[in-house]
Amino acid sequence: MNILGIGTIFSQGSGIDALESALENGPLQPADVDALYGADGKRKAFTVDFDSVPDKGMLKKIRRADKLSKMSVVAAAAAVTDSGITDLSDKRVGIILSTAFGAHVTTFEFLDGIIDYGEKNVSPTSFSNSVHNAAASYISTSLDIKGPTLTVARFRFSFQSALELGKSWLEQGRCDYLLLGAVDQYGDVLGYVSENKLNPALEGEIKPFSFGQGGHIPGECSVFFLLGHELTSSSYCSIDGVYTAHDPNSAEKVNLNVLSADGMLKDESLYLQHLSPEISVAAYSPLFGSIMTGGAMNIAAAALTIKKQQTYASPGNSAFPGLKIVNASEPSTISTIRCIDVNCRGECATVYLGRLRDIT
């Protein structure tokens, strides 16, 4: 299957152009976010605002949706626009949305209702928006997509697992196109949890190649891919393999490894066993933050790398003994990229991207 279009929304803006700009220009400072109940008052996080969204009409249409759903709709719509496919209404399109935590912010709003007003006086709108598949529902209604629609969750490997399933769906003809993406939201409770469970990035920056020693900064984002078998002039690359259980190609030589290392694991040296001194490596979490489903953003960055045939300098620290970290943004011949994600149990998920031969 091929990536026909990509849409994003993250702390540096919305759309694939925002991601490309971030890859070219590097990280921005995270925001100071109010800690609603924490003693210290402020926390650092890479948060999304909707000022950068060009289509304010769409946001107005989904004004009753929560932030998680709005981010999802914005990214999904941007992926369709980016593909150049102007009308999906007469096509067989499916949706798979992956998320680690779902609408937890809205869930806690609902709990606020129980605590403040009692079980008999809670908000039905809050409850219906707190259901995990609400975001996919908003995508389907906003874009008038009536095909197979699914929401899945598997923490760190939510997105890769969705991609593995999406590949099956397209191969089996359950749909002809698939809007497949990831979304996760920052919230006060998750801020408290990550502050107390994970190492903070004391230097104010995520350093993926410190392999967990540099700490994390929470983020939020949504990224969607329009996938299909066809080849268009806007296509990015092919997805040649997705493995969440066992990667039979782990010894295969690729041009570039892209890591999801983001400081969330206490020991990210687990990534090292999947790397080789001969293969260049990059990691882009400093651009958008530490997010369980951030692997999807790294895959978007990798897809852009192949499409543009240029490397993007890996932000954060740029040296680690024995590793060839991408230090410059420059034209380069890239045919294959392996995107690697590792979870706290040391399990690995890999996604292989390949250059489309008919695209020059």
């Binding site: 800690a35 109940y37 924490g38 003693a39 949706i95 998320t99 935590f101 779902g102 937890h104 869930t107 806690f108 609902f110 709990l111 606020d112 129980i114 605590i115 079980e119 008999k120 809670v122 039905p124 409850f127 219906s128 707190s130 259901v131 995990h132 598949n133 609400a134 996919a136 529902s137 908003y138 389907s140 209604t141 008038d144 997509i145 009536k146 095909g147 197979p148 629609t149 699914l150 929401t151 899945v152 969750a153 598997r154 923490f155 697992s161 969705a162 593995e164 399933l165 590949k167 769906w169 089996q172 359950r174 409770v189 408290y192 949890v193 107390n196 469970k197 969440t244 259980a245 149990r345």
Partner: protein, 392 residues
Amino acid sequence: MVKSDFLITGLGSVSAAGDSLESSLVSVGAGVRNSGSVSIFSTSLTYPVFEYKGPLDSGTKMEGSRTLALLLKAVEEALFDSGLHETRGLRIGICIGTTVASQLNDLGFYRAYRETGTTSLDPVDLFLKGNPAEFLSHRLGTKGPALTIVNACSSGTDALGVALSWLKSDLCDIAIAGGADELSLIPYAGFSSLGILNPGLCAPFDRDRKGLNLGEGAGVMVIEKRSLALSRGVTPSLFLAGYGLSSDAYHLTAPSPEGIGLKTSIDAALSEAGISPHEISFVNAHGTGTQDNDQVEGKVLSEIFGSDLTFLSTKGYTGHTLGAAGGIEGVFTAAGLKEGWIPASAGFCLQDDNIPISPVKVRTEISGRYALSTSLAFGGNNAAVVIGLEGR
């Protein structure tokens, strides 16, 4: 590829209807409805529920999660039924639907955090260890894909369908699939706020239906490639034949009045099974007992299958078990085919003039080869699976 390439070799179910599939069949066959007040959490609401009262010993109450304990009980039964005694290292996919286990919604934790700005993270640790598919995969030591489906009330049916997709794509040789959910204050209060909980017992498809009752439980199937099952000495019987899903693209909480999405999902499931509607011997409908769901579902089922369709809702025996519903109902559907009978559709008495068909009022003999189980969900999701029986 023949239709029965993916055999259902094990079934497991736990709900208010029984602590095993066998006991559930006895119970529903006798028309028993094990409903009552909520006892597992404190609440000021008084809507009846279908709570599981059977044993959940501490050994299986994993990670402090009732959902995982229910899941494990159903999985153990399904694995025993399949004769699959060793799972470690096998290419087994795990796909489980849920709603409650996917949400970080511990009220005690959140209340303490709000009040003090600091609290123990133990509930978060339990949540992070409690993704049902990941938990089960690690517990069983399997080597295959693992995925938790969070598609609201169709999650369990979708999990069965995802398993079928995995098997067809050779991502695994065996799949353990279904759904699990515990009763929780959060959806209990949420459904109350939506005004769709029944103050009495639910009456799916009845003229005077007044809403749904929540329930809890788990329903799980072991599905495997025919060749592997035969090599283990399994005698082919049930098989998973087809799956369809769709979105209404209509409304967050209400089904499309025309039921186009449900029709699409049923058509897709029949198409994958390679059968026509008249080959369906009965339908285990979603049948929640709410006004909207039952009206739309009745309309669509009558349009596709005709006025003499044999159908029922088993929610009158289990309550609406949310993410578990599709798993439990899939298991009941398979059991109905295999045993050759289905129970009366509990709670149904009077035909609704707006619903052209009526569910069965008495235990009914079944002689066909295929049956359908349907699910509708929040968000406008629709899902259907076709289950077949060899040898008829």
